[in-house]
């Protein structure tokens, strides 16, 4: 997380990415590595297995950026990524987590 405060963060347009992946060690590294090598900060991450556990779903909260479309294409190319979907920042998944992130 970078050092800007919550008000400033709220002023930045956000997007939520929903990524279905195969569930094994290293998949998260593949996904977030694509962001870190481009100095593209990931503001929030949630990940849990789905169904029988062979797949996981990764939720990423990221800043809107002109590079986002290219980022999504790069993520989609990963062998272990099954699908990627883009949502608006008001998506419910990160909404109820505030209580866990009080300073």
């Amino acid at each position: 997380m970078n050092a800007i405060n919550r008000n400033e963060q709220n002023a930045i347009a956000r997007a939520v990415l929903e990524i279905d992946v195969n569930n094994h060690a290293g998949v998260m590294s593949h996904v977030v590595g694509l962001f870190s090598r481009r100095s593209y900060n990931v503001e929030g991450i949630l990940c849990l297995p789905v169904g029988d556990g062979r797949q996981s779903r990764i939720w990423l909260l990221v800043n809107e950026d002109q590079r986002l479309a290219q980022m999504m294409k790069q993520v989609e190319k990963l062998e272990d990524v099954i699908a990627i979907r883009r949502h608006n920042a008001d998506h419910a998944v990160f909404q109820d987590l505030e209580t866990f992130f009080r300073p």
């Binding site: 060690a25 290293g26 590294s29 593949h30 590595g33 090598r37 479309a69 290219q70 294409k73 790069q74 989609e76 190319k77 990963l78 062998e79």
Partner: protein
């Protein structure tokens, strides 16, 4: 029939089933079980490199010359880290490679064990995909899959990290998986092909822009057919050289930083750019905003992430190049496009490429032409990285896909000699020439002894100016002539070095008739180093200064 086999034996058997007949590598503790099994294989010839990077580039040479995935092997820790540069190089040039590394036993992973390094983590950003194998059983799925991934879609390197205990684990194998093969790419959207054809048919000044994808797809003949049918002047990237013969009437040569003036000027005038298997690399485009400023763009690539990455395409088509061109050909009209072809020829005549003093074999271009005069199109031309590479790209008459092996994207000095060895191992019937420089050859010079050991038919033409030529050039032109760390104060005796490594060597400097000596050295089978001093003040011209528009070329 059920057999009990170790992970190591399974690995070797799967490589055999995959059709692999030559691998390059260096053994070490953590990969010894695989080497033990490899030693029992009668089908696979192992080439013992002297540095793992050399092994990686030998595999690249095999893959680039044949188009098929090739294999390199290394042990854990330093063995694996030494491979990384060759793997990264394969990623940037989309070369199908399968790298197999040994790893410490599973129970010791993460303990900073002897020769342990996080090979999986290190290789994530430089591979198309990578695996850390956790059981012998998994190898049956992972190895064919690695070959499939390496060869399908946009090709690339795949790394398989195999812990030592997985190599020694014995399991029962009753059924073998099918070898991993190239999966066909989805077909081009016919509606988009139709639109592209309409755009080509109505264009007045179109240019066909061929990239390395044309070579990978085996689509050179289709690209030439399209160019001829619609009369499209054609430029090639560094990676695409050979896709269209340089002396084809429609060929405008290599575009970009070291293009002929007429090439970049023609691009400046075009009203439609048909980019095929090319990725708008910065060395090709120069300042992007000023690249083909009047042109609409059709972009065809097998990798959807390349579309709209640098330049927004008016029509973007995700497809295998050969398949897409196959659809496009019948719907593109025959058109002599006389005005534009005449204009393109006029630019060629007005701003020609200056191959000055080609008749002097002691000049850089003269030497390249003299080498070419000794060879036919069957020869493979490899290079290292630097001034010599650009001069060969500019001046060598490349006429055949896969004739040209060069490190484009990563620009790795040290690529040339081991890549040439790999090409010669894969294509025994061909003569392989490696143009190199005195800076580059030192970066993998240890592989000369591998060349001697394998008795490969490679001719290393060493253009020696006792400088890091491109650095020297940039310091001269853009850093106020403050030459620093670009001139070698001490130069080795390369002829003695080559002889010390056990290969023949000649010094053209000492012969009155260098052309005759050259011809004799090239026609003699086996490895040979041919040393030639060249003038350190020579520049690669023309040149687009870094960050400038392609039209603003300097020199020559």
């Amino acid at each position: 029939m059920t057999e009990t086999l170790t992970g190591a034996q399974i690995t070797v058997r799967l490589l055999e089933r995959q059709g692999i007949r030559t691998v390059a590598g260096i053994p070490g503790g953590a990969i010894l079980p695989i080497y033990d099994a490899l030693g029992q294989s009668t089908a696979i010839h192992h080439v013992l490199a002297r540095h793992e990077q050399g092994a990686g580039f030998m595999a690249q040479g095999m893959a680039r010359a044949t188009g098929l995935p090739a294999v390199c092997l290394a042990s854990s820790g330093p063995g694996a880290t030494n491979l990384l540069t060759a793997i990264a190089d394969a990623k940037l040039d989309s070369i199908p490679l399968v790298a197999i590394t040994g790893q410490v036993p599973k129970a010791m992973i993460g303990t900073d064990a002897f020769q342990e390094v996080d090979t999986y983590g290190l290789s994530i950003p430089i591979t198309k995909h990578n695996f850390l194998v956790s059981s012998a059983d998994e190898l049956l799925e992972v190895i064919p899959r690695a070959f499939r991934i390496a060869a399908s879609g946009r090709p690339g390197p795949v790394l398989i990290d195999i812990p030592k205990d997985v190599q020694t684990q014995a399991i029962e194998v009753s059924q073998w998986p099918e070898p991993g093969r190239t999966e066909p790419a989805p077909a081009a959207d016919p509606a988009l092909i139709e639109q592209a054809a309409t755009m080509i048919n109505s264009a007045e000044r179109p240019i066909l822009y061929l990239g390395g994808g044309v070579i990978h797809s085996g689509a050179s003949a289709a690209a030439i057919e399209l160019a001829e049918k619609a009369s499209l002047p054609t430029v090639m990237t560094l990676m695409a050289l050979g896709a269209m013969p340089v002396d084809h009437p429609l060929a405008l040569g290599m575009l970009g930083m070291h293009a002929a003036r007429y090439t970049n000027l023609a691009l400046d005038e075009c009203d439609l750019l048909i980019a095929v298997g090319a990725r708008f690399d910065d060395r090709a485009t120069g300042k992007v905003a000023a690249f083909c400023p009047q042109a609409k763009i059709i972009h065809i690539d097998i990798d959807p992430a390349e579309l709209d990455k640098i330049k927004t395409a008016h029509i973007g088509i995700t497809a295998d190049i050969g398949e897409a061109l196959g659809q496009l050909l019948p719907v593109v009209f025959q058109n002599s496009r006389k005005i534009w072809v005449d204009r393109s020829n006029a630019l060629k005549a007005e701003f020609p490429f200056d191959l000055h003093s080609t008749d002097n074999p002691r000049s850089h271009f003269g030497l390249i032409q003299s080498v070419a005069a000794c060879l036919d199109d069957d020869a493979i031309i490899a290079t290292d990285v630097g001034q010599h590479q650009m001069w060969v790209a500019q001046a060598y008459p490349l006429r055949r896909p896969r004739q040209w092996l060069t490190s484009g994207g990563l620009g790795t000095m040290g690529f040339g000699v081991p890549a040439a060895i790999g090409a010669a191992l894969a294509e025994r019937q061909r003569t392989v020439v490696c143009f190199t420089g005195d800076g580059s050859i030192m970066m993998n010079i240890q592989e000369l002894v591998t060349a001697a050991e394998e008795n490969v038919n490679i001719k290393i033409v060493l253009m020696d100016n006792a400088t890091l030529g491109l650095v020297h050039q940039q310091q001269t032109l853009f850093y106020g002539e403050r030459l620093f760390a670009s001139q070698f104060r001490s130069s080795p005796n390369f002829v003695k070095i080559a002889e010390g490594f056990g290969i023949a060597a000649v010094d053209l400097d000492t012969f009155d008739n260098p052309c005759a000596t050259l011809r004799e050295a090239i026609s003699r089978p086996g490895p040979c180093l041919i040393h030639a001093s060249i003038d350190a003040e020579q520049k690669v011209y023309p040149m687009v200064p870094p960050g400038a528009a392609n039209r603003d070329m300097i020199g020559a």
